[in-house]
Amino acid sequence: MSASASDNRAHRPRGLFLDRIGKAAAALGATAASATAGANTSNGYNLPVGVTQLSRDIYDLHMEAFWICVGIAIVVFGAMIYSLVKFRASQGAVADTTMLHSTKVEIAWTIVPVVILVVMAIPAAELILRMEDMRNSDLSIRVTGYQWKWQYQYMDAGAGIDFFSTLKQDSNFARELHSGIDPNSVPNYLLNVDHPLVVPSGTKVRIILTSGDVIHAWYVPDFGLKRSAVPGFINELWFKVDPGKEGIYRGQCAALCGRDHGYMPVVVDVRTPDDFKKWVDDQKAQLKQAAVPTSDAPRSAQALN
């Protein structure tokens, strides 16, 4: 798999594109899928619209709040600027020292903001209710944060699939102090892992989130998802990627978790349900082969409980 058309959507391809052509072969490495470009839908200065219903609703709420703030700013800053221009002592303005207070005006500018807030709060509350609705999920995955990697353990159809996801080697070399490697030459610098989380599109996926050591946060901007992974606690979240939006989605740990907090990306590979099923079968076949001679003792020692 080479750099795909979705490359154009990566918000800053400068220096990356040529390098990717050159390095595509090298980057094919362990997981073919991880060589594709990020399908990040942010334009580089605003929230991504994302690829789930929830992320689009979040984006809409964000823009609504933004434009309300712009409206208020135009009125308030306009009044301030008008005063700064119109009422200057140097222009001979004389202060109206009788203007001490006005109960009517003060009540008005207490009530109006309350009304605006209610207008903002209603869609926000409605959205919270939908985000918290964990029912009827089709696939559950237990995600555990560790310093500094993620463990993905599948349930339901993927039961038995269990692996760790860590920063890809090329990023890991380039990120060292005085590495001498130009980060622009590394494909998806700091946002690439050896084994991404693979999920099907059009399916309600429930993430069951916890941590094995300190607090981490699992964050995929394009899904509108961020929750803390807290040791001793289970946090639930869900997403359902629109069919047709298959691709690689990238995020990062979003809670300071120690020295290498900046180096534990979250990469999700969204595939069609058919491709996902193939991947699951493939993984299970490999598991069967591997299960005979080896023991999974080290892994179970690291698991929770």
Binding site: G15, A65, M80, F87, E106, L177, F233, A254, G262
Partner: protein, 532 residues
């Protein structure tokens, strides 16, 4: 009562006037509100530069992708210590310093009510910060788990952890003593005839801030003490393996932390309410509703802490409650901004340096307020949380908010303190450089956060390069501009054109501080003024 106390104090200290200690003893053993106020302000200025140096290191490392200067662990120490030094070393002591100088002058008192405690509360601070900054030289370096000190990460700290905890204890003790002193002074030492509603807004904002401090600093002390026993004495307050709860720390911390946010902005509200009427030549619009607004904000600050923890997992009802209570804060804050605007409306404005800082405060603090309102919306907060959007938000309220408030206050009262006018051209240069570059520094961070760059990372994906470069350039320029501030203060202390008692003669300075000569006598009001 107030009259008696004022009278007694005036009587007791009468003899001291001619025998005040000189040299180092004047400062070491000082019980004088002005000398202690000066020490607080100088201390906070030094801390502003130490914290600022760390910020420069952070911005230099983030100038381009890849690690160029420091190890990730050292980077985490920089962000952690930058926050601790700026919050507890720069912003809070500068407000206490201003209160020390101005509260007795504004209420017509000879000094603070508890002068020896005043000395103690200041002199604790250099020790607290020696301990805190000394942790840089311990094995493992300074604290690196963020100023929020979340367990279990903070429990992985090395020898710096007990130093952090004891430094926080000392700062807390200092703040509580300072706050008690301000409450006692305001409640007991107002000049006859000055009832609470006639009191200047700066004193009002500090009275309410002082109650916040007394309420929440012990909570922080308790939280860090539990960290200490978890680390050293085998308790399990926050350790899930022992039945503890890491999220409980976050609840306790933010029960302190959110009122703390208002501790760092309410005195600035008071300062702006002093400066704007003076240079608008018009009384503050709706002064009484301004007081109620500050009180409402203070009350609400106790019931909104959960908005810092939306992503940590919270029952739906709690998400809804904290979202709505947080949004409510916009109402009294809006009242304040509207009243300030109305104060300028139909005024007669002139643009001396304190007024410039006050106007910049109005615009830029409002921007921080807007992003705050957006952050209050729980579903969107899931996107904003722990990204540079949050960094941009709180720096907008703290730098062009709190810090510009302090700078405005210094430019407003410095001639009163020193008896000299300062260099107006230099002051305006400092203002314009600060006001421009603070935006170059922090505005692009909104974009970075929205595009998905997490905070507290030493290195970033290459698509974040451009805005980080812009932000760093703004940071270096903003940092360098602050050297002008120091030069100006030193010049002004050394000499300059004599300032009159009212200082701002052409404008409309109101308040008792302008009735005393500049600089005021050692024991401020030895005879209590009469307020009609």
């Amino acid at each position: 009562m107030a009259q008696d106390l004022a009278h007694d104090s005036a009587h007791d200290t009468h003899g001291d006037h001619d025998h005040a200690p000189t040299g180092i003893k004047r400062w070491l053993f000082s019980t004088n509100h002005k000398d202690i106020g000066t020490m607080y302000l100088v201390f906070s200025l030094i801390m502003f530069f130490i914290g600022g140096t760390m910020a420069m290191v952070i911005r230099a490392e983030l100038f381009k992708p890849g690690l160029q200067l420091i190890d990730p662990e050292r980077f985490n120490q920089m962000t952690t210590m930058h926050a601790l030094v700026m919050i507890f070393g720069a912003v809070m002591p500068s407000f206490v310093g201003l209160a020390n100088w101005m509260v007795p002058l504004q209420i017509g008192a000879p000094d603070m009510a508890l002068p020896r405690m005043n000395n103690l509360s200041f002199w604790i601070l250099p020790f607290a910060f020696t301990i805190l900054l000394g942790s840089f030289f311990m094995p493992g370096g300074a604290p690196a788990a963020g100023w929020t000190m979340y367990p279990p990460l903070v429990l992985q700290s090395g020898d710096s952890m007990p130093m952090l905890v004891f430094a926080v204890h000392l700062m807390g003790a200092s703040s509580i003593m300072g706050a008690i002193n301000i409450v006692v002074t305001i409640m007991n030492m107002r000049a006859p005839g000055m009832n609470l509603l006639k009191m200047p807004l700066f004193c009002w904002s500090w009275l309410i801030t002082a109650y916040l401090l007394i309420a929440v600093m012990p909570v922080l002390a308790g939280a860090v003490t539990m960290l200490l026993t978890d680390h050293f004495f085998g308790t399990s307050f926050f350790n899930p393996a022992g039945g503890g709860d890491p999220l409980m720390f976050e609840h306790v911390f933010w029960f302190f932390g959110h009122p703390e946010v208002y501790i760092m902005i309410l005195p600035a509200f008071g300062i702006i309410s002093e400066i704007l009427p003076t240079f608008s030549r018009k009384p503050l619009f709706g002064a009484t509703s301004m007081i109620y607004a500050i009180a409402s904000i203070a009350f609400l600050s106790f019931i909104v802490w959960g908005h810092h923890m939306f992503v940590d997992g919270m029952p739906m009802a709690a998400q809804l409650f904290f979202m709505m209570s947080t949004m409510l804060i916009a109402v009294p804050t809006g009242v304040k901004v509207f009243n300030w605007t109305a104060t300028m409306w139909r005024g007669s404005l002139s643009f001396e340096p304190p007024m410039l800082f006050a106007i910049a405060f109005l615009f830029l603090f409002s921007i921080g307020g807007f992003s705050g309102l957006m952050l209050a919306l729980t579903p969107v907060d899931f996107q904003y949380n722990n990204t540079y959007f949050v960094v941009a938000h709180f720096h907008y309220v703290l730098v062009p908010g709190a810090i510009f408030g302090v700078m405005g206050a210094v430019y407003y009262w410095l001639p009163k303190w020193t008896g000299h006018m300062y260099n107006m051209t230099l002051a305006k240069t400092h203002f314009w450089l600060s006001a421009i570059f603070v935006n170059v520094l922090f505005f692009p961070q909104h974009f970075l956060g929205l595009a998905g760059m997490p905070r507290r990372i030493p290195d970033y994906a290459v698509q974040f390069t451009d805005w980080n470069m812009v932000s760093s350039i703004g940071g270096f320029a903003f940092g360098a501009s602050q050297i002008l501030f120091v030069i100006l203060i030193i010049q002004c202390v050394r000499g300059g054109q004599k300032a009159s008692a009212a200082v701002w003669d052409g404008a409309l300075p109101t308040g008792l501080e302008w009735t005393l000569p500049s600089p005021p006598p050692f024991h401020s009001f030895t005879v209590a003024p009469e307020i009609k």
